[in-house]
């Protein structure tokens, strides 16, 4: 088992714990924006999509990668914009 893998597992475990700590105290008022904002972050898979689409991995990799770029971009752009739109409405008088 190579070192990189162990290191990545380590990163994964720490990030999960960090995620629990970060989100635990979010008031329920913000649950929807939190969800859609987090959803936009899960569009990070766009990084992998770009590499597949733009690298020289053969026809299938390019085609599937491009489709992945398309969907991930919707997820990212749409997710952040709609979260921003929602949060713009939360006002205190």
């Amino acid at each position: 088992m190579d070192n990189l893998f162990v290191l990545l597992i380590f990163v994964l475990v720490l990030a999960i714990f960090l995620g629990f700590e970060l989100i635990n105290k979010v008031p329920s008022t913000l649950h929807t924006p939190l969800m859609s904002g987090a959803n936009a972050i899960s569009g990070i898979t766009i990084v992998g999509a770009l590499i597949s689409s733009g690298s020289d991995g053969g026809l299938w990799t390019t085609v599937l990668g491009t489709a992945a770029v398309f969907f991930a971009t919707i997820n990212v752009v749409g997710g952040y914009l709609v979260t921003n739109r929602m949060l713009g409405m939360f006002k205190k008088k």
């Binding site: 995620g19 913000l30 924006p33 939190l34 992998g48 999509a49 733009g54 409405m89």
Partner: protein, 467 residues
């Protein structure tokens, strides 16, 4: 200079900065004052990650990815700009699904690519395919149910659970074949396993979400949200990229926490929501004789009571979203406040079709967020509330949750509207199959039913106040 920017070390450092921006962003999403800035910070992290990837020397041609980026931006931006706030649950579900399919496609592209793959990569690909596939088809079903393309009720067939378990085991088997490439039958190609695995993942997603009834939707949306993060994390192991792993794990954890909050708010375990056979929102344990007399009230009488009230608590539910009554509700709230009355909104965590659904609608209608309160804030002072206005909510105010041990919702934390001095319940009608009669709140001494469309009833009250 360009060499440095294209180097792997530079890219990895930039990914670490992007991860930090995600973490800061999520942290700031936790408070209404900073949430919008948090979202901006998080999006700048995403922009950084994308730019660094685009200039890296791993990418040699831009024609295809440019098409994907431009089309995706157009679709995403227009969906986000034009969606109505009441349609937010289905849009979130749809975006979730797109995240899932994107991860699935990344895993597939890597699998079908020219590079040779080790055991770890293959295992990661297996996980990406299965989680991504479940997220995609599950989210599409959730989208279909929420947008009423599919019937919102539970869709169950006989032996569903057995089929689900069988397909899951088969998926594991073909996953093992994909990873270890052992001889299954003469002439078996791992590509078959790859294709079967994707199909099974899609079917599992369907089988998990089809039995979910409308009232349980918040749980499943939060769960799918978590899956979309986990799929991205798994894709991170496929391409050995730390920012995917960190960002995916953060989303996975946040989705799990929300799922847990939703389950607690319904006093049910996750297994019970996903596999349980509880008929959504029907608590048949009470028979009609036990419910007291139903006392209707008309708008003018309701106005007289409200006019004399010093403290009003509004309890919104999915019915408010259906009749789009949120703006009328805000207007009534403002008139009551001008009349010297204290107005608050009690929002149950599972009211509506996704976590925080009611909060978004009321925020859209310009209700100040410090008026939006949680059950544990309002229940202790419920005795001092003069009028509780229940708008299209049912289970979350059902006293059976406290009083009737035989009720399926017994033990669920509720908003104890029945303890206020007067309760107005806005419902379309009692006649619709007597579906609502199983809520003993409707027959309590202090309850009054205001029949009709919620928006019309509230607008009627507004008109009375103005006249």
């Amino acid at each position: 200079m360009m060499d440095l920017l294209q180097s792997e070390i530079f890219a990895n450092l930039a990914y670490i900065i992007a991860s930090m921006l995600f973490i800061f962003g999520l942290k700031q999403l936790g408070s209404p004052e900073t949430a919008q800035r948090g979202n901006l910070i998080s999006s700048s992290g995403m922009l950084l990650a994308v730019l660094v990837t685009l200039i890296s020397n791993q990418i040699i041609s831009y024609e295809w990815l440019a098409i994907g980026l431009v089309l995706g931006t157009l679709v995403g931006a227009s969906a986000a700009s034009f969606v109505k706030m009441t349609s937010m649950p289905e849009l979130v579900a749809l975006f979730n699904g797109f995240g899932g399919i994107a991860s699935l496609l990344v895993g597939s592209a890597e699998y079908l690519g020219t590079g040779s793959l080790g055991l770890i990569s293959l295992t990661a690909i297996f996980l990406t395919l299965i989680i991504g596939g479940i997220t995609f088809s599950g989210s599409l079903v959730a989208y279909g149910k929420l947008s009423e393309i599919l019937p919102g009720r539970q869709i169950i067939f006989k032996g569903q659970r057995i089929v689900l378990v069988a397909i899951f085991i088969a998926a594991l088997l073909f996953g093992a074949q994909l990873i270890f490439n052992f001889q299954m039958v003469e002439g078996w190609n791992p590509l078959f396993s790859f294709l079967l695995l994707i199909s099974f993942a899609l079917v599992i997603g369907l089988l998990i979400t089809l039995p979910i009834g409308g009232a349980d939707m918040p749980v499943i949306i939060a769960l799918l949200n978590s899956y979309s993060g986990l799929a991205a994390s798994a894709a991170g192991f496929v391409i050995n990229n730390n920012v995917l792993i960190v960002a995916g794990a953060l989303v996975g954890a946040s989705g799990l926490i929300l799922t847990n909050i939703m389950c607690k708010a319904m006093n049910r375990s996750l297994a019970n929501v996903v596999f349980g056979s509880i008929a959504s929102s029907s608590s048949g344990a009470v028979n009609p004789e036990e419910v007291g007399e139903i006392k209707p009230i008309n708008v003018s009488d309701a106005y007289l009571i409200l006019e004399a009230a010093n403290s009003v608590l509004v309890v919104p539910g999915y019915g408010m979203a259906v009749s789009q009554a949120q703006h009328a509700v805000r207007e009534l709230g403002e008139l009551l406040e001008e009349n010297g009355c204290e107005v608050n909104y009690a929002i149950h965590p599972v009211a509506g079709r996704m976590p925080g659904h009611m909060n978004v609608l009321l925020a859209e209608a310009n209700v100040s967020y410090d008026q939006l309160q949680e059950p544990e804030d309002v229940n202790p002072v419920m005795d001092t509330v003069d009028v509780c206005i229940v708008i299209g909510a049912n289970d979350v105010v059902n006293p059976d949750a406290k009083e009737n041990e035989g009720s399926p919702i017994y033990g669920m934390p509720i908003i104890e509207a029945d303890r206020s001095k007067t309760v107005f319940i806005l419902k379309r009608s009692m006649a619709s199959g007597f579906a609502g009669i199983d809520n003993p709140l409707f027959g309590k001494e202090n309850s009054r039913m205001l029949f009709g469309d919620a928006k019309e009833s509230i607008s009627g009250l507004v008109a009375e106040f103005k006249s």
